[in-house]
């Protein structure tokens, strides 16, 4: 089977644990329990995205984009370094679904990812202006900072919506 990829060729694909910062389109494909953490600075039309897989780094530093706590720091610092004003940052969250009811014990990792990110964003004083989280469906996301921070979410059946 050949892999298909949402927005191939026109967006930088952010894989699990990776991140991207800048004005150009960026995308993650097939989010399940992972969450796409998206930060946006409207004045400068610069954005960033991290493909977060787990809530807590427990002190690991090698892959900051993989964990909620380290990913937030990584994106904020990266955007400030690009000249963004911290006070103007807004956040969008996509993903955090629960695809399998019985694997992974009682831990709903998707929900924990989302909850942790929300708590951390509140602590940082960054408002969440849109989110599409939870449920049990996979999602692909493309984020275009240069076009007003537009976020498009696609589901497996092809239906799309904008955030």
């Amino acid at each position: 089977m050949k892999p298909s990829r949402f927005y191939e060729g026109t967006a930088a694909i952010v894989g699990i644990g990776e991140h991207c910062i800048g004005p150009d389109p960026m995308a993650t494909i097939g989010l399940g329990s992972c969450v796409a953490l998206i930060l946006y600075e409207p004045q400068r039309a610069i954005g960033s995205m991290a493909h977060v897989m787990l809530p807590d780094s427990n002190g690991r530093v090698d892959r900051p984009g993989k964990y909620a706590d380290t990913a937030i720091r990584l994106l904020i610092d990266g955007m400030v370094a690009k000249g963004c004003r911290r006070q103007r940052l807004v956040a969008k969250l996509v993903g955090g679904a629960s695809m399998f009811a019985h694997f992974g014990g009682n831990l709903n990792i998707g929900e924990r990812n989302t909850r942790t990110l929300k708590t951390l964003l509140r602590t940082e004083g960054i408002p969440i202006v849109a989110e599409l989280t939870g449920g049990n469906v996979g999602r692909s996301v493309v984020f275009t900072p240069s076009e007003g921070g537009r976020v498009t979410v696609k589901r497996a059946d092809g239906t799309c919506c904008e955030l």
Binding site: M1, I16, G30, S33, A97, S140, A156
Partner: protein, 203 residues
């Protein structure tokens, strides 16, 4: 995770035997010939899994590995949605491919996954001399990468690379393609390598 060529070959051979068993059962169920690709074995960084598994609409029948080895990792039958429809149509004697995968299709997929993966693990057990039992299966019909990454998130948090063992089973007559993905966790992989080494000698 550094694997030598000999180790990769040994795992490929193990998978080859398993997949051949699975292909035989599929062939018996569909009463037709099944072609099997040469198994592909890749060590893939988690960030680049999306280069191999995308957001294609797929049916995934997922089993956790249990048995003499500690619960550790997953084995997955991955079928594109179109192939899944043709597969269940063949099993259920239907022809309509322009429909949703309903309850009947879902039970058929779980059943076919059960039979194929049990055969796969029987085959590997013969070689390894130990049994990896599949858990009861769970079915997801969604984006392949969404399923895979959700499973990864339940494994060891330190996992930054996965062994992607993948073999394709093709039924030309009914145009059915399926992949078997074997996703052992770090400890299961170490156990398997140790057992293989005791068979073929130092690797």
């Amino acid at each position: 995770m550094r694997l030598t060529d000999v180790q990769l070959d040994a795992i490929r051979e193990l998978g080859n035997i398993g997949a051949a068993h699975a292909a035989t059962t599929l062939s018996q169920m569909l009463m037709c010939q099944i072609n099997m690709s040469v198994p592909e074995i890749l060590v893939v960084d988690i960030g680049r899994i999306c280069d191999h598994i995308g957001d294609e609409y797929s049916a995934m029948v997922v089993f956790q590995l249990q048995g003499e080895l500690e619960p550790g990792g997953y084995i997955i039958l991955l079928v594109s949605r179109e192939s899944a429809l043709r597969l269940t149509n063949t099993m259920l004697g239907m022809t309509d491919t322009d429909r949703e995968l309903g309850e009947m299709d879902q039970s058929a997929l779980l059943e076919i996954g059960n039979i194929m993966i049990s055969a796969f693990l029987d085959g590997t057990a013969e070689l390894l001399g130990i049994v990896m039992l599949p858990s009861p299966p769970e079915l997801a019909i969604d984006m392949a990468h969404a399923g895979m990454s959700s499973l990864l998130a339940t494994m060891d948090a330190d996992i930054d690379e996965v062994i992607l063992f993948r073999t394709e089973l093709m039924d030309e007559e009914h145009m059915v393609n399926s992949d078997i993905l074997f996703l052992p966790d770090t400890r299961t992989l170490a156990d398997i390598l140790r057992l293989l080494e005791s068979i073929v000698g130092p690797m």
